[in-house]
Structures are given as C-alpha cells and as structure tokens.
Assembly symmetry: D2
Homo-oligomer: 347 residues x 4
C-alpha cells in the first residue's frame, strides 16, 4: 500500500483526489491538510464522501505528512514551492497539481505568476507530468509538476503531428480555441463563477494572455524540439466539468500528403487512456466526464489545408486528479489505470 | 460469473446498466437486444462506453437470451410482460426495470397503463423490488418488478415511520412533493424534454394523477399493513440526474413523542446504501449522483406537528439500474454492494 | 416625469430596476448609489445596459437623492431603516425592496433578522407592498415595504381561498413547498451559489426556519383576518430566475363544495398581472420569465380533499423590481402596467 | 399600421416574432399559419403569450395572407420558395427567415440543401438581409433572404477589416470558431437536442461542412469584393440562446499597422444595434440575450500577427426574428429600432 497525503483538500481537485483514492486498491490515505479546517471531518465538507472517507483535516505541516510515501499538492501556486524541498529531502515523492513546477524558465514563471521562484534547483529537477509524453521521466521522478488542464488537452491533440519526424504543419500559426467547464475556476467564491452569472452564458476570457499559454508553448517545444507559436483562447462553458480543445493547424505539403487518421491511431495505439475515435467522429465532453479518458478526432474540412483536431478531457480528472493518480501509479510501478477504470458518467 | 442479458439497451436505464455491469467483477454480459439496432456496436451509440463495452445489439428474441442466468428488462411497459414467462420457465431469472410487475391489482394496472395485464399469475408471483423493504423475497425471486424511481425515494423516506408499531403519523394526509431530473423522462425525443424547453425552467407535471401514485400507496400499505393516502406532485428540475422527495407528514401524539432522528438512524443502521444524515442536514441530489446511495434527513420545523423528510437518490442508479444490480446481487448470494461501490460524482 | 433614485444598485434587484426603468416612459433616473463603486459607470458593471443607461454610481447620501420624487432601496436589511426617515421627512417617497418594513412586529423582526428595529414609528406607518392585496394603501403610502419574492407567490396563490367569507380550508395546515432560481440568493459571492455547486443539483434549504415564514403567515392573516400556520420549505433550482410555489391546502366541507376554478377566475378577473390559467394547466417558470406576470392554476388531485395551487413568478420582477415599479406606478397615479408590458422571454 | 402575416409559427423563430411584434407600435398581426395546428390559439401552444396574443393558427394558404403588407416565413427551407412568387406578385413583401433566398448560386443551394431551387429569378432579385451591410437594398426589396444566425455574427465581426480599402488580413486563412445555444437547432424533437444529452455537455458539430459555410464565404465576398476562405466550426453550448463567434485572422503588414480598435469604432459609429466595446473587453452572450444588439471586441494577443475578434448576438433575435423586424422597419421607412428597444435580460 502506498501511503498518501494531500495538501489542500478543500478545493475541487482535492475532493476529486479523495473520490478516486478512496477506491484505489493500493492506496492508504494518511493525511489531508487544510490550514482553515483543522479537525473537521472531510465528509462534513463533502457529504458525497460520507461513510467512505473517514479522515479529518490536519495542519499543513511536515509532521502531518512525514509518514507518507507520496504527497499530492492540490494548492494554489506558491504553496508547493514552499514545502516541496523538505518532503523530497525526506524521501517523500511529490506531485504538484498546481503550477509551481511547470514552467522551466524562472523568468517566465515570475512574469505569469507574479512571484519569484524560490526553488530553482528543484524546478530544474522536476519532471513535467504529461505522462503520455514523458513517461520514463515520470516513473523515476522525485517531484512531478503535473500538466495543467488546458495544456493537457492541447498537447495531446497535437503530439502525433509534432513527433512525426519532419514538420507536418506550420508550427508558428497554431490556434487553440479551448472551452472549459466552470469547475476549472475552482471552489473559490467569486462573482464571475456564480451560477447566475455563468449559467445561460458563454464568453471568452484571458484573451490577451492566459497562464497556460507559456506552458502550452513550452510543452509543444519539448515534444517537437522546435519553436512553436500558439494563439490560445480559453472560453467558459455553462457546465461543471469538461474541456474541449478545438485546435487548428495549417498543413504543409508533407502534412497534406499524410493519412492523419492513421497517424493518430498508430501514435496512440498503446495508450490506455487516449481514444482516437473513428474518422468523422465528434467527441463530446460527456463522453469522458468523470473518467481519465481523452477522446480525440482529427478532421480536414473541405479537403483544404487546415486540419481541425478535437480533444476532450474531464478537467478535474485527466486534467488534474486523475492524471495525478496516473502519475503516482507510474512512479510506484503499478499499472497506470489502477483505480482509474471508472467509465464516464453519461448522460 | 453471472451471465447477464439486457433487453432494451438504447435508453438511459439500459446504458446505465452497461456502465455499471462493465465493471462488475462477477458479471459476464452475454447479450443486449434492441429491435431497431441489431448489429450496431453498443459503443457506437454510447461513445462513453468505447473500448470497455465491445458487444453489439442483437435481436430481442429468446434465442439471444437463452444462455443467460438473469435478464434485465430496461423497456417500456408491455415488453417484459410479453417475454417474461418464456424466460422464467426456462430457469432464467428476470428483473423488470419497467412497470409491468409493480402494481399487484390488475385493474389498477389497466387503469393507469391503458392495457390489460397478460400475465396475472406471474404478476402474483413477482416480488416488488424495493430491496430494503422486501429483501428476503427478492433473494429467492424468479421475477422481480423493480420499484420505480419516485416510489423508491418516497417509500424509503417514510418506511421508519410506518414500521414503528403503532401509527406515528396521520397516514391519510401524506404529501410527497417530488422533484426529478429530466433523464427520468427517458431518451425518447419529445418537445417537452428538449434542452430549450427544460433548461432555465421549472414546473409540476401530472398533478392530476401520475402512474407512480398507485405504486407509492400500494408500497406504503405493504410496509405498514394499513391504508394510506398520498398527495403526490412530481416536478421537473433542469438537471439530468437526481430526485429529491420532500415528504410532509402530520405527527400524531405518539409521533410527537418520538425521537425521530434516533428512529431513522436505528432503522437504517445496517443498510449499506441508506445514509441517515445528522440532525439538521440538507441532502442534495449531487451528494448521491452517479451512485446507488440514498441520503435522508428528517426535520420538524418550528417544533410544530408537521415533520418534513428529505430523501435523495440518483433516479438512474438507486431509482433504476443500480437498484437492479443490487437486486441481482441479492438474488445470486453476492454482497449487495458488489460493483456498486462508486462514490458520487461531485461537483 | 417621476424623478427616481436607487440605493444599492450593484445587486440583481438593482440592475433589474435599471433594466425596467431605462425604458419606462414616465421615469427619469436621477441617481444610483453604491458606497463601493462611486464614480464607476453603471454600464461598466452591467454591460447589458451599455448605450442605454449612462449614469454613474454616486455616494449613498441624502445629497445624492434629495431631488428625487421616489427612492428605491435595493439593499440588504438594515440599510433602508437607517435612511428612510430623512427621505420621507423631506417628502421623498420610499419603496424598500429589502426586508426592513415587512414584519410589523418588531420582536419578530429582531428574532429573524438579528438586529433591533430602529424605526418603529415608520414601520407602523409603512404599507406592505403586495399590491393586489393592499392597493389602496399603496397608492397613498409614503413608505412601502415591498413583499418578498416567496411571500408574493404564496399569498397570491392562497388569496382567493382566504377572502371567500367563511373559511374554505384548514388554515392551520397549509404547506408551501417553494422552489426558486439561484438569483434569489443575490449577487454576493458565496460557495453555495457557485455554478459548480448549484448546477446539476437540487436541494431544500432553511427547512428549520426561513425569514419569509413569518412574513407569509403575517400576510395571510392580514388577508383572512384569521390565524394561519404554514409549513414553508424553500428549495434551490438550478436556474437563474423563477419561483414556483406548490401550495397544499386541506379543503373543508365548504371548500369541497366550491368551484375553485370559478372562484380564482372571478377573484383575479381585473388584475392585469395575474393570470388564472384554464383548468388542468401547469404553469412553468418560463411562462413568466423576465415579466411581471403571475400565472396560477388550481388542482384537486383524484377529487380528494387536498387542493394543490401552483403559482409562478419571476423572482427578480414580480418578486422584486417589477413589483416595485408597479408600486411606484400606483403611488403616482399611473396605470400599474406602465413600463411593465414586456412579454416573458421563452424559450 | 403594417399588416403582418407569419408562415410557420410553431417554432422558436416564429414564437420570437410573436413576442416582438405583439409590442410593436406599428404592427397589426393579421395571420399566423401552421398546417398542423389550424384553429388552435397561439397562446395555448405558447402560454408565455397568454392575454397578449389572441390570434389562432390558420391554414398556410394565400387566402390567409392576402390582406397582409408583409409576410415573414419562419419555416424550413423549401417552404418559402413554394409560396413567395404568389405573394410578391400580389404586392406583398416577403422576409424569409429560412435559407431559400440566401445562396445566390443555385448549384451551391442544391449541393448544401439537397433540393433544386424552383425560383431562380426570384433568387436573383432577392436581397441578402444583413442590414448593416446591405441597407439600401433592403429598404426597397420585395423579397429579403434574411442572413442566418452564424453568418450574421461572423460577417459583422469581419466587416470593418474587409471594407478598409486594401486588404488588412490574409483573407484565405480566416478561422471562425462559433458557439451557439441549443435553440439554434429549433423546436423539433430530436435525441441530440434533449436536455439530458445537451446539458452538462459541449461538442463541435458539422465540422466537415455546415450549410452556413457557403453563406459566410459568399457574404464576406459580397463585402470585400475578393475571394475568401473560412474554416468554420460550429459548437453546441449548453444554454438556450446566444452565439459567440471567435474569429481568428492573420494580419498583413497593413493590418499590423492599423489601429484596429479605432477602425471598428469608426466603422460602426452610426449603427444602433452594433456595440464596439472598449479595448480589452470580453463580450458575453448574456450581454445581448433577448435583445437585437451585437457586441464586438477585437484583440491582438501578445502583440503577434493574429487578431481575435469576438462577436456575440442572440441567435433568435439579431440572428433571426429581431433582424427580421429590423428589416421590416427598414422596408417600411420606420426607424430600424422601433419595437426592438428591449434591453438584454441579465442575469
């Protein structure tokens, strides 16, 4: 049994970790911390977990976590950075679901997150947790900076095109028009996330620049080894869970000569969680809701030179807690899908 | 392994059975039938099941089902009635998620469902599938007429009050104000169930008389052994899954002298799926969504003589497919919760 | 032209007042105040009003309001109480959409709102703003304490039964099972009103006691002149706007002998905003959304002695801003529907 | 008073026409036809219109319409084509909200709509009803083929860039990623439009080719006089009303040197219904819901060479019924906004 701790269990990624880990056959939940809720039973805050999760929140201290084999951070940026070194040095592996260990360039981190990075050495060691792209590194990592939700969807949508040897597309004019459910904004009370604001409404946000943009470009460059430019526009959908990325790429001559459906199917043939749907398919967010699956389809409308890749994930599962458990499984030599077999909840 | 067949797999209760059974450790899915879809892969209709359910629809004939140990009917009324005898006589046990074997009085059946009952003998033998009330009979049943969704919520809300020996309430002035998500109306295309009609809208329906009314009254009388009258008003909530029953009862002197919280907790102490929440709790449909749990709370506002019982279930799980699998587990001597441990999906 | 001011324009009732008043042919909007937003253009906060509402927020002082003929308070309780006397004494009429001038009993006010009432004399003078019940008093009022949203729906649902001379129902066992959209909770950022919490969810709240309960009982007693007892259970519906009240009454012999449909139609024949729908109708919240209409239907299921009255309003219009403008029209001798003719927005 | 008829009043565009026309000060509604509902009161089908629309459905014959000055067709393609000639020849002006008179090329019409065009001469005469682009022609038209909902949003988003003299963008790599509420699919009962399918879900559809693609390209070419290529991807949003178009264009040197904000503000300065929001704005569908307004914003993320234009309309108003009434106003010399002043319903 892997002894697991969670730092920051009062948000949606924290409660989603609990939902998954509670039924994981190789996990023993040792501690869940929250500065504001010490002593409160987790199930009092999340009644959906009643009778199955019987632990209470504890202080977010090293003491609470020192008997763990692995600690998940489901916290805003800045928190994991402050605690990771002590844990890692004590031999406790860390998976950060937040943003502290994603951007390799500390100047970029500071620009987008508005604070200096206090652990540049750890950052350099940290493995970027997009497992389908960096599996071997994840397996042996002491510290994983898990990929963000949008970046997971966009990178998996593009990966087969970027790893095909010679370029197949114009890698500097990629457009990622992404749509996310409201749970992506977390469980913090803000006017913009109120039901009365978000329901029966649709909008783009952060059009001038979103924190996931540098992560996406860095991630794509790690995959391709070449410079990429992405125009990334996130949108807010009046639903709770789910991301659909609609990605537009301009095919070059090599790309136009390629059987894209075959390329994608071949590329992901052995990936348990990635489903390349048949030609002409239209993945829907409900096809993956509550599960760790990714569903993909690639189109080439009117036979022109623009290809459209559609990729859907559940932002709280493959985009956060599920991908974190998948990483844990890989880090401890378990089958990656252990505890993650749940089928999507539809309708 | 129990060899299982499903008749009528193209609706929401059928697809929900598939979602649950696909991960059930003791079930082998042998056949799923649909007259209109013979030969089509189930996963083409329900992409959420892709890669995990690899069966195709077959003809709804005895031939398709004859190697099963148990057959679920996820069909409109009239269908199970026409096929049940042949199956039962061949030693195949049957669980009808539809309405053919719920109402014991054939005149009542004909009145509410507009067709004569063709199998009165089987109807007499059939066990009413509200497991928490009729467990022993379910275990040995050849044919189970599963309780409907609203009746499950209302009966479980009232059962402790009705089995307490002497009456605690006025059993002829019960009010059941029930609210259901739209999936209760099934996957049939009707204007009233369109998104543009049901979203951002709320209404009562079938106020003058709903088919679940005689089932509720019959069920309560089976529990109490006494005549009951219920005013039952169903409402349509702009959500997909979930029922909340708000039940009002007038306490008599004995009822007013009873510790209702203790009564409920004691009554359901050993029920895996029934959660009596702490005093003052307010169960929400999302606390059970996607799971087979029932969550209950009992209130006595202002200390007056009216008690309010709140009960919530997922109409597609405890109100249909989950309860059906729970019945199957009981019928085959398995732990009732096998394959039904999934925690609610929240948020 | 009536010169109008609004105190507290940053919530939903405030913005709804703006939406209505901007097109009112006899209103000139002089001032809208908000302590926190002084100087900001209203249309910057509410882009839906761009190009049509060109006013900015001003200080919530007497100075800002002194040139008005009438001031609406769209504020939490406690605010109007503190400012009303100065305005009324200056000859400015006041309509409070909040709760300060609803409950006539100061002890009740203090019990339910947790603060003493500082203006008992004004409270005694204030007219309870349910216009269909207290029209003449509203017309000449200096200060109106507008009816709350739930109380409006419940009182209009019951009024014909209570004003019919001799009692027609058991007035001490009334049950009001009410359902409201989330905008009823206002524009304040709280976790419970987040989209991810409220969407795809349904729950009862304040079952043990809601502030509208004493207002409902007081209001019904003002209508009938007799003591009433109501069990009032509010529920939260995953929609933005709308209230449906499902009201259960036990008919006495006189009530059972009455043609209830004729009673209701006769009672409301001359009310512009109250629509008694044909026998058997099922009013939906979308039938009134965005309008000041009330739609009602009365049922007597199974011909038993319980009658079910269904009443629907838009909580932000007839339950707040629309009813406030209706009161203003009455106070200034205008047709009550002036500026309130908008038809419901459906779908 | 303009005497108006509506053919096909049982869908959402038909009922929306009724909602608007019922309050239009210069319109007298003479007839509304529906083959299937002859004799039924309109308000029985649409209770939101009760007490304000007192007309019944009549036969869809010339006889029913011959006393009208103008007839709106709110019908599927093929219907207007069959009736328009008789009306126009009788001096009755026609506005087709359907698709019969949009595509000028009959071969294109046949390709996309699967039927031959029976009125090529009328088609040549018909004016394309995007008023902001073709105002003068609309004013004198006998027959208007109203712009579709998506095409309205995309053309208004791009028009300032296309009419600026020399090209500002690469006109062959335009991407229009569009999102629509479910009412765009109409009031027809189909599984895909059911609440349980569309709620809590998001998907792209018709990615390989949508009927609005040729209309968009034709419309842009009418504006610019040059060939354009658009990749158009429609998506289904779990809301009832609203379209947001996110349009990506690659700026050429001239475009990069242009003050795009000033260009847009100048271009639309005199348009009542088009609101160019301040720099950095993010239009939301709820900012226009229920109104005839268009709200636009233009961004240039990261200062790169891709511009992003956001445009939002209510698909049933500016995308259909409202634009139709705007056309009628123009055709009869009335102010275009007469009867269309309603402010958006938010929240």
């Amino acid at each position: 049994m892997i002894k697991v701790g969670i730092v920051g269990g009062t948000g949606y990624t924290g409660s989603e970790l609990l939902r998954i880990l509670a039924l994981h056959p190789q996990v023993e939940l040792k501690a869940i911390t929250s500065r504001g809720e010490v002593g409160q039973a987790v199930a009092d805050m999340f009644p959906a977990l009643r009778k199955r999760v019987n632990i209470a929140f504890s202080e977010p201290t090293f003491e609470s976590l020192k008997n763990c084999d692995l600690v998940f951070f489901a916290t805003p940026h800045g928190v994991c950075m402050a605690q990771a070194a002590e844990l890692v040095n004590a031999g406790i592996r860390v998976v950060d679901l937040g943003a502290d260990f994603r951007l390799k360039n500390t100047a970029e981190f500071e620009h987008w997150y508005g604070m200096p990075h206090s652990e540049p050495a750890l950052l350099e060691e940290a493995v970027y947790g997009l497992i389908e792209a960096h599996r071997n590194a994840v397996r042996t990592a002491r510290l994983v900076g898990l990929a963000g939700c949008y970046p997971t969807s966009v990178q998996l949508a593009l990966k087969p095109l970027l790893t095909a040897g010679a370029p197949l597309i114009d890698e500097t004019t990629i457009i990622a028009d992404c749509k996310s459910g409201v749970s992506g904004a977390g469980r913090k009370a803000t006017v913009g996330s109120l039901f009365s604001e978000a329901s029966e409404n649709f909008k783009a946000y952060s059009v001038s620049g979103h924190r996931h943009l540098p992560e996406i470009e860095q991630g794509l460059e790690m995959i391709s080894g070449r410079k990429t430019h992405v125009t990334f526009t996130p949108h807010l959908v009046p639903m709770v869970r789910g991301i659909l990325a609609t990605v537009y790429v301009k095919l070059n001559d090599a790309g136009q000569a390629t059987d894209l459906q075959a390329l994608y199917e071949g590329h992901y043939r052995d990936e348990y969680f990635v489903d390349v749907m048949p030609k002409g398919s239209l993945p829907e967010t409900k096809h993956v809701r509550g599960s760790n699956f990714v569903r993909l389809a690639i189109h080439r409308p009117q036979g022109r030179d623009t290809a459209v890749i559609l990729a859907t994930i559940d932002n709280l599962v493959k985009g956060a807690a599920g991908q974190a458990v998948q990483a844990m499984n890989a880090m401890f030599g378990l089958p990656e899908h252990l505890g993650l077999e749940q089928l999507p909840l539809a309708p």
